[in-house]
Symmetry: C2
Subunit: 311 residues, 2 copies
């Protein structure tokens, strides 16, 4: 079977909860809580954490303490701490804070690009070119995000080859990995496969990552579809933070717990201890005063409850 | 690609909410609400509803009004109303109520069979043999459920070939379709594929149905895996009723809305209007005073909200 042959033996989880997650939560949390979360994630075996965003504090006040968070954690053997940088100023701040990797972001939809970052896709790529070059000059690797890869809130369906073109340009500009983001969480496994295949025409699958939102409940099925095409890196957010599960139309990253359960259940290594990960999720859910949106975390909670009660 | 070739063009949804769902909800609902739910499901395009269980009212008080519910709905062109029957007495009551199909149930796990229905798997099959024969004598088709197909709460992992043996015996005894139930919702796509393949060694795939619980968040990925093996019938419960989503360790059927969204998004017809289905889900969620556990229903709610507000 072709699928079984492509399936990776090991998957890398890019934990985006402390950045993408917390940035999109209504309740802000302190640097101390962020550090507590990241410490617990590392303790669970997470090796890659997007820990900060060096954006203007005017636009993203939740992330204003990025340098402080990074300083408190410090460098850890075998762990990559990364930050999102929207421009050269952000990169400079990130470099000063000592990040090991940075990430830049473009959209696969013209309308979304205009509404989200006030410029066309081409303009956004032109602006990122010197940022990527400067990061590489400083020996800092750059990850590229492409959003709206399986649909746009304004344009609807997006051609997989349009996504592949943006992904390829980021790759050619020096991004070592392209994270394909289903921003509106509307994709299905069939479309995910078609997208990965389109991107694989010009980018090696080892340089592709999947970033799925669970808005329409399809994220885990899409991760499974991407795994079957050989994708071995997935972005996820512990406890599914970044989208309140009980609000109408909540968008939200797929929960890390659910991705880890899927992978381990399919015999794919993640290096992550699911129970410790659930503890990290419980810690941040409590700090945010919200329920987890991870079904796996809820099932673990139930299992522990039954074990304690002896039923 | 083999997968694409096996994928069905059309899927039949077996709506189990009015029976499996309501039977496992803590709040009982009136016959009137059940009828209201079933009417709305039929209006949305659902063509198969498990509407009642003819079990002892002492054991299953929630289902004591089965005959009343069936009588109020009456026969509908193109719609099958079915009932679960645990024994000959139940079959007789079901036949008297005029059901068009009945369902019997066995387990793939010895321990579960003993704890759930107080007899071994062999004994349960022996008891069902005359029930199946009598139903067929009365020109009523029989569906067979097998539970614990991807794991047992007492025994843990279950050998796919052990499942296949029970499924085959039900098939040989006269069940036209075997519904494979992941009772504890612990399965992953890999295991689902292996299970379907094991069953397909002795039963045509057209006689197999998938019945997935979403306890560990894997149900939609498992449906996708089963679709890829050619399974074209899935049991699901509107709004995911049958397991409170906010209780620790909640088990629960996969939500019909989510299965329909998955299928339609993959170009597979269901004949169901997703928005009307979401209305049926909202109706029963309101009656049960609980939030929906369907992510698709939540996304639809959000979409409608934004459309109304113009944002």
């Amino acid at each position: 079977m072709r699928d079984a042959a492509l399936m990776p033996a090991r998957v890398c989880i890019v934990e985006v909860g402390p950045r993408d997650g917390l940035q999109n939560e209504p309740s802000p949390v302190s640097a101390e809580v962020k550090v507590g979360l990241i410490e617990r994630l590392i303790d669970a075996g997470v090796t890659y954490v997007e820990a900060a965003s060096f954006d203007s504090p005017k636009w993203v006040p939740q992330m204003a303490d990025g340098a402080d968070v990074l300083a408190r954690i410090g460098r850890r053997e075998g762990v990559t701490l990364a930050a999102l940088v929207p421009n050269m100023k952000g990169l400079e701040a990130a470099l000063q804070a000592g990040v090991e990797e940075v990430a830049v972001f473009a959209a696969a939809s013209e309308t979304f690009s205009q509404k989200n970052i006030n410029c066309s896709i081409d303009e956004s790529l032109a602006r990122f070119a010197p940022v990527i070059a400067a990061a590489r000059e400083a020996d800092v690797r750059v990850r590229g995000y492409v959003s709206c890869v399986l649909g746009c809130p304004f344009e609807g369906a997006i051609d997989p080859h349009a996504v592949a073109r943006v992904a390829r340009r980021l790759f050619e500009m020096g991004c070592y990995e392209i994270s394909l983001g289903d921003t509106i969480g509307a994709g299905t496994p069939h479309k995910t496969k078609a997208l990965i295949d389109a991107c694989m025409e010009s980018i090696p699958v080892t340089a592709l990552a999947g970033h799925f939102h669970d808005t329409w409940g399809m994220a885990i099925a899409n991760v499974a579809a991407a795994l079957a095409r050989g994708v071995a890196t997935f972005d996820s957010s512990v406890s599914g933070i970044g989208g309140c599960p009980y609000s109408p139309g909540a968008t939200g990253n797929v929960a890390t717990e659910d991705v880890v359960y899927l992978c381990e259940g399919m015999g794919i290594e993640t290096g992550i201890d699911l129970y410790k990960l659930a503890d990290a999720g419980a810690f941040i859910s409590q700090a945010l005063k919200r329920e987890t949106s991870s079904r796996v975390a809820r099932a673990i909670e139930g299992k522990r409850h039954r074990e304690t009660c002896g039923t």
